[in-house]
């Protein structure tokens, strides 16, 4: 009968993983909607194509080699149990060995599924920052390397617990990946933005910053809601176990804190925008919610709900100034990805020691730095090679006409626009 309890625990934890994974997969749609809402109509088809394709590429590359690099799951998932190779005896034995309060036991396939959707999320961050000017296929080739190698390597050194190259041993705490996923994505994005340069017309020679409004704000709001929802899986699943009272309580607090931080970020960003601009800038509201989510991701379990709200609220304030500052540095990031995922990801990592006694500022900083440096440098190498090989930027004329026609051959809204005259 004890075996039956273990079977149920196994089933419950597997299911929990799968549902959380499905929610994270759903975030791919969130990024796609957010980004397609914030670019101009003429670049919408292309950003959608990138978002769908990058998720597909992440799914395949992580299966081919990424999971092996990160967790040693085998090339082509050869180490993951299939229906044919599954051994109930082994699983039961592991359950008994772990005892009811030990590590969870769940289907290996569910772990892969939960991990692979994170890769998609990391890569989605990049697409927004380089939107409206990067070549589609150069981007997709970058995605192959990023999801197959760059992300898995830094993932291995942190979550994977591997001491690759004997280079360093991080005492680094990052629950669901403020640094490992979000800041990593932002580092690749930053490198891409530097290699690409700004969109034509974004910054004038006399130093003026031009606004380039997004074409479809309801999509941006929808994307934010999707991400908000998907984040419950992102953070909630990262508890890695549900079957047990203490972990279940932890999962519940993660859900609650995740929601609270997003709410705090949304409100504070909206208020700051209203004070600064005298208008309730919706894009800041949306970025504020995401900033709160990114910040709480490094430690969504330990803070009290009030603390989580405050952490989110601070991130909401930071993100507004980060967006303004980065724009002033003439780093053209159409969706604010570097501010949201990079700056607030770093903030999230550094704030962990306040609520988690085991974490140290030194460890957090070292870890964040390692991730940033690794991803930024390797990304730069890849961008550089791509630039040499095939070029990474569409021509000026294509940019004027829109990436949609140049790259995808079809407009996103053929009946709604007729040149976008203002």
């Amino acid at each position: 009968m004890e075996n039956q309890i273990f079977e149920l625990q196994f089933a419950l934890d597997t299911f929990y993983f799968l549902i959380c994974g499905a929610l994270v997969m759903w975030m791919a749609a969130g990024f796609a909607m957010l980004e397609s809402g914030l670019v101009r109509a003429k670049n919408t088809t292309e950003i959608l194509t990138k978002n769908v394709a990058l998720y597909a590429i992440a799914s395949v590359m992580y299966l081919v080699c990424g999971y092996q690099f990160m967790y040693g799951g085998g090339i082509f998932l050869s180490g993951v149990e299939t229906v044919a190779t599954f051994s109930k005896e082994a699983a039961l034995a592991a359950s008994v060995a772990n005892g009811f309060d030990g590590d969870s036991v769940y289907a290996g396939a569910s772990d892969f599924f939960f991990q692979v959707v994170f890769v998609g999320a990391a890569m989605s961050i990049v697409s927004g920052a380089v939107a409206e000017r990067m070549k589609l296929w150069a981007f997709l080739l970058f995605a192959v390397v990023m999801t197959g190698v760059i992300y898995p390597m830094e993932g291995a050194w942190t979550w994977g617990g591997q001491e690759v190259f004997g280079m360093f041993s991080l005492n680094y705490s990052d629950y669901a990946g403020s640094g490992i996923v979000h800041m990593a994505g932002a580092a690749a994005a930053l490198s891409g933005v530097l290699f690409l340069g700004a969109r034509k017309g974004k910054y004038t020679k006399d130093g003026k910053i031009n606004a380039i409004p997004g074409a479809n704000l309801p999509l941006a709001a929808l994307g934010t809601f999707i991400l908000w929802m998907g984040w419950f899986g992102f953070n909630g699943g990262s508890t890695l176990k549900l079957g047990g009272m203490e972990v279940a309580n932890e999962v519940a607090n993660v859900f609650l804190n995740t929601n609270a931080a997003a709410a705090g970020g949304a409100i504070s960003a909206l208020i700051v925008a209203q004070i600064l601009f005298k208008k309730a800038d919706i894009t800041m509201l949306l970025n504020g919610a995401l900033a709160g989510l990114v910040a709480i991701t490094a430690e969504p379990a330990d803070p009290t709900p009030l603390t989580a709200t405050i952490i989110g609220a601070i991130a909401g304030i930071i993100v507004v100034f980060a967006i303004l500052g980065i724009d002033r540095m003439k780093l053209d990031d159409p969706v604010g990805a570097i501010s949201v995922h990079g700056v607030c990801g770093f903030f999230g990592v550094m704030v962990v020691p306040f609520t988690d006694a085991d974490a140290t500022f030194g460890g957090q900083f070292t870890g964040a730095l390692t991730i940033f440096v690794w991803v930024f440098i390797t990304s730069s190498i890849v961008w550089f090679i791509l630039k040499m090989l095939m070029g990474i930027r569409i021509t000026e004329e294509e940019e004027y006409e829109g990436a949609d026609i140049a790259e995808c051959g079809v407009e996103a809204y053929p009946e709604f626009t007729s040149g976008g005259l203002k």
Binding site: F277, D281, D327
Partner: protein, 113 residues
């Protein structure tokens, strides 16, 4: 025959249409345009960057009328379109050398609806 081109505020289109109808004008062609003049546009704001929309939405009416009606027609439009505030718009009159109704081939003022 003359072509009256009237640039008016979008909010007055219904009034103008009705006034013209009463006056006996039953055909016209309209389209949306953007106006630039004394009436200034507005500021918008996007992610902290303010920008100026210089052009104000207006509606252009093009109405072909016979020479006798031009003056009255201008008056009808002006009165119906007037709000008294800056940006009420203009009416221009151009000469029409020839007109034809495609369906019937009627020419001249017969071509007007």
């Amino acid at each position: 025959m003359k072509l009256i081109k009237a640039i008016i505020k979008p909010s007055r289109i219904d009034e103008v249409k009705e006034a013209l109808n009463e006056f006996g004008i039953s055909g016209m062609t309209i389209f949306e345009v953007k106006g630039y003049g004394r009436q200034k546009g507005h500021h918008e704001l996007y992610r902290g960057a303010e920008y100026q929309i210089d052009f104000v939405p207006k509606v252009m009416l093009e109405i072909a009328v016979n020479d006798d009606s031009v003056a009255d027609c201008m008056k009808v439009i002006s009165e119906a379109a007037k709000t008294g505030k800056i940006g009420d718009g203009k009416v221009f009159v151009l000469d029409v050398a020839e007109a034809i109704r495609i369906r019937t081939g009627e020419i001249g003022t017969d071509a007007l609806s």
